[in-house]
């Protein structure tokens, strides 16, 4: 007989992590479903940076200069996809005013994706002839070559507005200050908290952290996105609640006495650790029940000798496994 939960990740309180992940997943999926069914009362608060987008495009139109968009330099992942999706909305507005658009990519895969999405936007607007090879372009996938290329473009084309949304690293400030030098309006947002302060210092409007993900829900009001956002909020409130309860529980527990301390996956008697000077001490954070929820206690006797397996006659190779 085997136990279904006899897995390394389920031992002791290990299941809590899996459970928490599943709870978050469930709350997101549940709310997406709820929104799809047409729950009308789903509210999203105003996100300041996004209202500036139309002003920025308007200004570019007046000045007859292009709008620059950079989806960060990350590889093709949800962040880049999210950025390109926001840019699709921006392109839609820009296309209506016939304002030229430059979307510069630092990853070939992101380029392939953006090419597809942005071309669709122009096709929808019936403006296929305005979709040029320069509209979406791959500049370089080396970080600073990309920065040099885009800076040169900002200067030469004198862009009127820049949208820097996505995964940015050190090059963030190069783009932001260069755009500032040519007097462009800038809306920026990065999931990298390390770059956000530079955007705050150099740009006109900044999406902070999570606002970046909330942005497309706010702009499109697509039920899937709105529902997902609500689900995320539920998860956040849940986590905040857990932290509050945990803080109180931990605090209360730490006023109690104990005669053994937990050190990693062993329990050490106080008398031993103090050299016999004391037999009881106040509980430390690691000794509490709250800690155990987050750090499963798996002493050796739980694993050792309980799981003996036969050895392979000839050890199999490292790259065993398949597609």
């Amino acid at each position: 007989m085997f136990n279904w939960l006899e897995g390394q990740q389920y031992l002791d309180t290990g299941f809590v992590g899996v459970l928490a992940t599943l709870l978050v997943v469930a709350s997101i999926l549940f709310n997406i479903k709820r929104a799809n069914k047409g729950a009308k009362n789903l509210f999203i608060r105003r996100i300041a940076g996004l209202n500036a987008i139309d002003d920025a495009i308007g200004r570019a139109t007046e000045m007859g200069r292009p709008v620059l968009m950079v989806p960060g330099i990350g590889p093709l992942d949800a962040i880049s996809v999210q950025a390109v999706n926001i840019f699709a909305q921006i392109t839609k507005s820009a296309a209506q005013f016939s304002t030229p658009v430059r979307l510069c990519c630092a990853s070939a895969a992101v380029y392939a994706y953006a090419q597809e999405v942005i071309r669709d936007v122009y096709t929808e607007q019936g403006m296929n002839d305005r979709f040029m090879p320069e509209t979406v372009q791959f500049v370089s996938d080396q970080q600073f070559a990309f920065a040099a290329g885009v800076s040169g473009m900002i200067h030469r084309e004198k862009v009127a507005a820049t949208f820097l949304l996505g995964q940015f690293f050190a090059e963030s400030l190069i783009f932001a200050e260069t755009s500032n030098a040519v007097g462009a309006i800038q809306v920026a947002g990065s999931t990298q908290s390390t770059q956000t302060p530079f955007f705050i210092a150099a740009c006109d409007y900044v999406l902070i952290g999570d606002e970046f993900y909330a942005a497309s829900a706010y702009m499109t009001r697509d039920p899937v996105l709105v529902g997902s956002l609500v689900g995320q909020d539920w998860a956040k409130i849940f986590v905040a609640g857990v932290i509050m309860v945990g803080t109180l529980g931990l605090s209360a527990e730490m006023t109690q006495q104990t005669d053994t301390h937990r050190e990693g996956n062993k329990m050490v008697p106080v008398s031993e650790s103090t050299g016999g000077k004391a037999t009881t001490e106040k509980k430390k954070a690691a000794d509490t029940a709250v800690a155990r929820v987050f750090r499963p206690y798996i002493p050796e006797e739980m694993t050792k000798d309980k799981f003996t397996r036969e050895k392979k006659p000839v050890p199999e190779g490292a790259e065993e496994g398949g597609e």
Binding site: S193, T194, A318, E320
Partner: protein, 316 residues
């Protein structure tokens, strides 16, 4: 335009010019500065120094010449520390294909430096192993945690005699089957690769890190939650480690005061042999000049703003 208004709108090019001049001058006057190392730097130094002699260390070196200013100093210090402790190490990169070559060059220089100082010469395949580059940090670290032998399978190492053998046959890794068999993993990085390592490996092995100033703030939460055991951040971190190598924690004293006071890890002796102060010392003084310039610029802008408003009779 009054002088105050002008001071609020100094052309950026003038600021740039001043910075270039100040930095160039600063470089010609390296100096030893009394300081108190950051607690996280002390933890790093203590963690490495407290390793038993001859430990096996995994070094993930994820920096290239573009962050030479900080990471080069970190890497040089680390090599000196590891060689002082006679630890064996493997190094590889999971972030940048160019990183192993950069590390190799520096390592060769440190080995030559120690040879010229009459210290034991570290040899490839015997004291350290060069694994090269692993693309995709996530997958690499995940499989290192799950199955170290599979993750590193097929990699060869040169030996002092010039032949090639499987890395697991070298003295460095002969007794290593799982990642838990190594004593520490040290990540030198200029990117988020430390996050990836912590997420996937912190439960299996003690991790410490040497990171750039940018990455520092995102790594400190891991230090606070004890997911990493110590971290030296940026140029200050480079100088901190050199300073600790020279003076130890609560070891060398001046007028009864230790150069570096003990933190939670207690006293740790200074290093006895090899180079201690080097690049950190050369650059740290210049950093003071540049920072002072920045702070002056900010202060000046604000003073001018207040003065200009006052002249106009606005409330401030």
């Amino acid at each position: 335009m009054t002088i105050w208004e002008k001071m609020q709108k100094i052309d950026r090019r003038i600021l740039y010019g001043i910075l270039v001049v100040c930095v160039c001058i600063g470089l010609f006057f390296p100096s030893t500065i009394r300081t108190d190392p950051d607690p996280s730097s002390k933890s790093f130094y203590a963690a490495v120094q407290k390793l038993p002699k001859g430990s096996t260390i995994i070094v993930q070196t994820d920096w290239t010449n573009s962050t030479r200013g900080e990471s080069l100093g970190h890497f040089e210090n680390l090599m000196r520390l590891l060689m002082n402790g006679e630890h064996k190490f493997v190094f590889y990169s999971a972030a940048d294909p160019a990183a192993p070559q950069v590390a190799r060059t520096v390592l060769a220089r440190i080995v030559a430096e120690r040879k010229s100082q009459g210290l034991r010469e570290y040899k490839v395949g015997e004291d350290y192993v060069d694994l090269g580059f692993f693309p995709n940090a996530e997958a690499t670290n995940t499989s290192m945690g799950a199955n170290l032998k599979a993750a590193w399978a097929g990699r060869k190492s040169k030996t002092p005699s010039g032949t090639e053998i499987d890395i697991f046959k070298t003295p460095v890794l002969a007794n290593v089957n799982r990642i838990e068999d190594c004593q520490m993993m040290i990540v030198i990085t200029a990117s988020q690769s430390i996050d990836i390592a912590v997420q996937r490996l912190a439960q299996k092995i003690d991790i410490t890190a040497l990171v750039t100033g940018v990455v520092g703030p995102t790594v400190l939460p891991f230090y606070q939650s004890d997911q990493i055991k110590g971290v030296a951040v940026g140029l200050k971190g480079v100088y901190d480690i050199e300073y600790l190598m020279e003076y130890g924690i609560d070891d060398v004293k001046i007028e009864g005061q230790p150069y570096a006071t003990a933190g939670k890890e207690g006293p740790v002796p200074k290093t006895e042999i090899g180079t201690r102060f080097s690049r950190g010392r050369q650059y740290y003084g210049t950093l003071h000049v540049a920072l002072t310039l920045l702070i002056l610029a900010v202060v000046m802008g604000n003073v001018a703003m207040f003065a200009a408003r006052r002249r106009k009779g606005e409330k401030v």
